[in-house]
Point group: C2
Chain length 374, copies 2
């Protein structure tokens, strides 16, 4: 494949968009959910299972991979795709979020961020230029600018300061990205939940010009209503002809409602993290398999689903595995959740194609609320 | 399948035997390694992976399953095969070993054992009759007598007392087993490392009469030389026309050397437990993937093996996964180890069939020692 990085918008219904992102390692059908492979594995799944659920693209993380095994080392291995055995597109986050959430003793300066590794306390510096160099060494198909993330709640002044710094880092990231045929560089809109700041951020990024635009700094504690209202005024400010990526979100409800607000790509650790803790996301809503009420329920999570994790294992067995702390319980529920997320996205794509997105959205909410247990 | 439980001895070379055990749920090619599925899962593997490695039979455990989810509950689910999704033969241990090794405040009386659960301290009683009832409720194909296991080292008097009690429990277990077409009941030879006691135990069991005979109470700390010398005098005392099962052993070396001493069936948690801790067993000997020397080694564990876990993942990636504490590392190494154990057994069976077992034995030891790393 030698194609240019590009985005084709096939159809719109309301704000919801149906498209295709073209990359060096293949196409991404949007709206897309991207499973997270932080350190080079989607936790608990084999890559052929990830592919089998319908995922076109997975994530890797600059912060984690620079610490271990190291970007230069991954390059020596022939790049991240080869090292981890995933041959489709890979998006790598720039590390900004993890510097906020994971590292110890971090210091943000104009030049970049210095921080101590959460693994062994070693000191690292991450500048916009180094973040882009790492992602180039990893060989990722979509490379994110370095940004400054801030915790919620924050003052308007803090949000503005971080947004402005992120904009300056965006320009430097863009410069450092250079030209990489088939690969794309995304800018990240910041500005908290403040409309004026978000619009200024979007405007600044558009002036720099990116292959795609991400909405960052959400799902950091502000709650779903504030997150969605922020999307309401942010996505219309983004270019129609570029993919829009909502970072680190969320529940199936969040996915559906973000798509309804014009989001094309989305990633989250929630399906695998929740799976490891015994929670399944299904057509029928959330099911906590640790709950004793499932102990004698011989029904699978969803008899009609094509994924074996959803259709071939009883809730009683899943309950037993989770109570016994067995790896297989974590494996099955992680797989089941990724499979459900992907089938939700397929349902969304089909509905937009068919012009029935609003019906699909209502029916999906209704079924989640109805559930299938007493 | 409605066949009777039986054993066909196809060929002998020295003490090594090639045979087939016929059960209600299918045939077991011997010598056989039986992966351990203590609580209803071979830790870290999908059942189709277990099957794919060439395993004909897996183990379940009376002690664990009586505590959770409970034998009556498993029976309500339609039996263990259905509950866990394994459709081949299942052997269940009687719980004697776990009462020694896991339970709190145990008390052994003539009638049976009383103990407290290692999970929640609940009190249980396990008599020979109840151990057999539980295994019948589970629906296992090979049901073990209840025995009394003792720690190593022990006095001859302790070993004799436990052996004699185990013999009386053997008679009661046999009585309780009754008639179960297609299913077999195995007696367990005890007696520590003492020849006189082992021979008396074997003689007593033969007088009761079982479908198969197990050698218990080994691999409890006595070391390989003493274990093998115990087999040297124990297996010749067992009936030629019944399968012989060495319980809870061991390394690939132990497997090969036990087969050379007339053992037909063997089980151990070692391949999965070691896999979870980063150790691989291969044709080239043991490889500790946590060791830094593998960090840049892009070779798979064994490029020529049919199991993807051995042939499709680099040692560098496995090292990375283990250092990062990732589930996939544990999954892959557990799978790789079970696959290697099964291919070793296939090699053993082929060699006995071909009359080349001694050559195979020598070449295998030689390759383990040679290794393939500096």
């Amino acid at each position: 494949m030698n194609q240019e990085f590009s985005f084709t918008l096939h159809k719109k219904q309301g704000q919801a968009r149906r498209g295709t992102v073209h990359t060096l390692h293949g196409d991404i059908r949007t709206p897309a959910f991207m499973p997270v492979g932080t350190v080079g594995t989607v936790k608990g799944l084999y890559m052929d299972q990830v592919k089998g659920t319908g995922a076109d693209i997975i994530l890797g993380n600059t912060y984690h991979l620079m610490l271990r095994p190291g970007a230069e080392q991954v390059a020596k291995f022939g790049g991240l795709h080869k090292f981890i055995g995933w041959h489709g597109p890979i998006l790598t986050d720039s590390g900004g979020f993890q510097i906020m959430s994971l590292s110890k003793i971090r210091k943000i300066k104009e030049t970049g961020a210095t921080f101590q590794s959460h693994i062994d306390g070693r000191k690292f510096e991450l500048t916009p230029e180094r973040a882009m160099e790492i992602q180039r060494l990893l060989g990722s198909d979509i490379q994110m600018q370095l940004d400054q993330c801030i915790q919620f709640p924050h003052t308007e002044q803090e949000a503005e300061k971080a947004m402005q710094l992120s904009l300056r880092w965006a320009a430097r990231s863009r410069e450092a990205f250079g030209k990489q045929p088939g690969r794309g560089n995304f800018g990240i809109v910041q500005g908290g939940t403040n409309e004026k700041l978000r619009l200024a951020s979007a405007e600044g990024l558009k002036q720099i010009g990116f292959e795609g635009y991400a909405v960052g700094g959400l799902a950091v504690g502000e709650g779903q209503p504030l997150m969605l209202s922020t999307l309401d005024f942010t996505t219309p400010a983004l270019p129609e002809d570029r993919p829009r990526y909502l970072m680190g979100v969320g529940t199936p409800e969040d996915l559906l409602e973000s798509v309804a607000r014009g989001i094309d790509m989305i990633d989250c650790v929630l399906p695998t993290r929740s799976g490891r803790h015994g929670q399944a996301f299904t057509r029928f809503g959330r099911i906590n398999l640790r709950n004793a009420k499932h102990a004698e329920d011989m029904r699978p999570l969803d008899a009609e689903h094509s994924c074996p994790a959803l259709s071939q294992y009883s809730r009683a067995y899943l309950h037993h595995l989770m109570k016994a702390g067995e790896l297989l319980g974590m494996m099955l529920l992680s797989w089941a959740n990724i499979a459900y997320y992907q089938s939700l996205m397929q349902g969304i794509r089909d509905a937009i194609d068919a012009g029935t997105f609003e019906d699909f959205r209502a029916a999906t909410h209704e079924q989640w609320q109805r559930g299938d247990t007493a």
